[in-house]
Amino acid sequence: MEKAIIFLDTNKSGSSREAIKAAKRLGYSVVLFTRRKKFLNQREEFPDIDEILIVNLTNREKMRELVIKKINEGLEIHCITSFIDSYVYLASQLSKEFCKTNPISLDAVKAMEDKMLTRRLLREKEYTPSFIELNEDDSVDNWIEAYKEELPLIIKSPKSTGSKDVVLVNNKKELKQGIRSLRKIYPNQPVLIEEYIIGPQYLVEVIVHKGEIHIVAVIEQDITIGERFIITGYSISSEIEPSTFDGLIKTVKRVVTDFEMENGACHIELRHVNEEWKLIETNPRISGGAMNRMIEEAYGINLVEQTIRLYLGKAPDLTKAFEKCIYTHYIIVHSVGNLLKVTGKNRAKKHNGVLDVFIKPRKGQLLFPPRSMGNRYGYVMSEGNTKGEAKAIAIHAASQIRFYLQPLDE
């Protein structure tokens, strides 16, 4: 029988796509369940996927039927997984049902995937910021009067991903508007309101294997605050102050232990404020975008490949082959317009130290200021002898890249 891995959805590039390539490298046939019909029209761009099946990913029964169909067709399904927000838990459930080896801690994945469950589970922990759940039938006006002294605040939907609906509100008007708009987008859902924490933000990539917590990478994040919180810079280096690093790792291990994760992959974002670490959010998967490539360039570890090994019931190999300073600078725009052309990609690539230049949008696509991480339109990844050098190279190389936008009112 042909051994196969089923993936629930993927992006065209980044960590989720690299996971598919890794599965192929490991010798598995790859079946993709996705709702993106356009992938079928772009079939030649997915040579690493053996079969693409269009399915509504919220319809669990339909997916079960398809998995059974694939098994009856002779595929031996070794794992069902997803590297895309919202589907990790669902994939893990299906994997538990259909695959012999399923080491993933389901409850931990479920709690990590839902921001509200995360906060509820960790309510009493000192690393959890103050938060309030505003239910759909709670009166906004009464609530605002009661909590106006707490402003500024962060409001978010428990289901939001990629900073899509995470908003900083500075006054009563913004707070009211923010809650109303979230209730409109996510009817029948509570709104999560949290204290606004100011301080440097770190992201930690973690693999847990048989209860042992492996810190794969610690990444410093540079955040651009506009309409939304957008991370425009990621830095991997060994230049983090030892006391800061120790405190961070201690908190991360405490968080993972509190989720009772025995096996799984996750990333955890924390902010350092007044010598304390505060948990911003967790996700039961590697970060998207360039993260897998960054970790590979920094340490020689292909994290998505090792995650798949873990899901297949094997031990991940997280040995660092080397240690380098890597920086990734993401490109965003501040205007709205249709993309006419992009210049400077090759010039940026030629800079010493530049490892990768990626431009996401195609000609004709509408570009706009970021409302989520998905609205970042490219990146430059670089290496340097120091953290500062890697960052300077990436930013300088990125300054060569130009997006030409045709204004919409033309």
Binding site: S335, F403, L405
Partner: protein, 140 residues
């Protein structure tokens, strides 16, 4: 340039001038320039398939162009008064290469031409005239 008898380019330019006036809304009584456009830019080519290119001077700088706006036509003499138009690329630089033309601007330079010298007229999209240059992002 001596003007001669009427040829088919002359007829075409008469028609173009008429459409240009319609585009500019000159036939309307109650609205002014309803389409926001008042020019049908065009190029002229002679029987040797060479584009008609003219040099002009504006703000003490010399430029060359092969794109024009018709202002008036003397049908009986087959002569036309043309305004020189300047072509710009996406970066806002004057360009001679038609593939790079993104925006066209009027100048105050005019010439009188004998239309019997030409055998091809190539109209260009009116929306190119005064088209705002693209926004260039990111802004560093």
């Amino acid at each position: 340039m001596s003007c001669k008898r009427k040829n088919c380019i002359c007829n075409s330019l008469e028609k173009l001038l008429k459409e240009q006036k319609q585009l500019a809304g000159e036939s309307y009584q109650f609205v002014c320039n309803p389409h926001g456009m008042d020019t049908i830019p065009f190029m002229l080519t002679n029987s040797h398939l060479c584009s008609f290119r003219v040099f002009g001077v504006e703000e003490n700088e010399c430029f060359s162009t092969s794109i024009f706006r018709i202002e008036d036509i003397e049908s009986d003499r087959c002569c036309a008064s043309l305004t020189l138009l300047k072509a710009y690329d996406m970066d806002g630089c004057i360009t001679d290469c038609m593939q790079d033309v993104y925006s066209i601007k009027k100048t105050d330079q005019r010439i009188m031409v004998d239309l019997s010298c030409f055998c091809i007229i190539t109209p260009l999209p009116p929306k190119l005239v005064n088209r705002p240059l693209p926004i260039i992002e990111p802004k560093y």
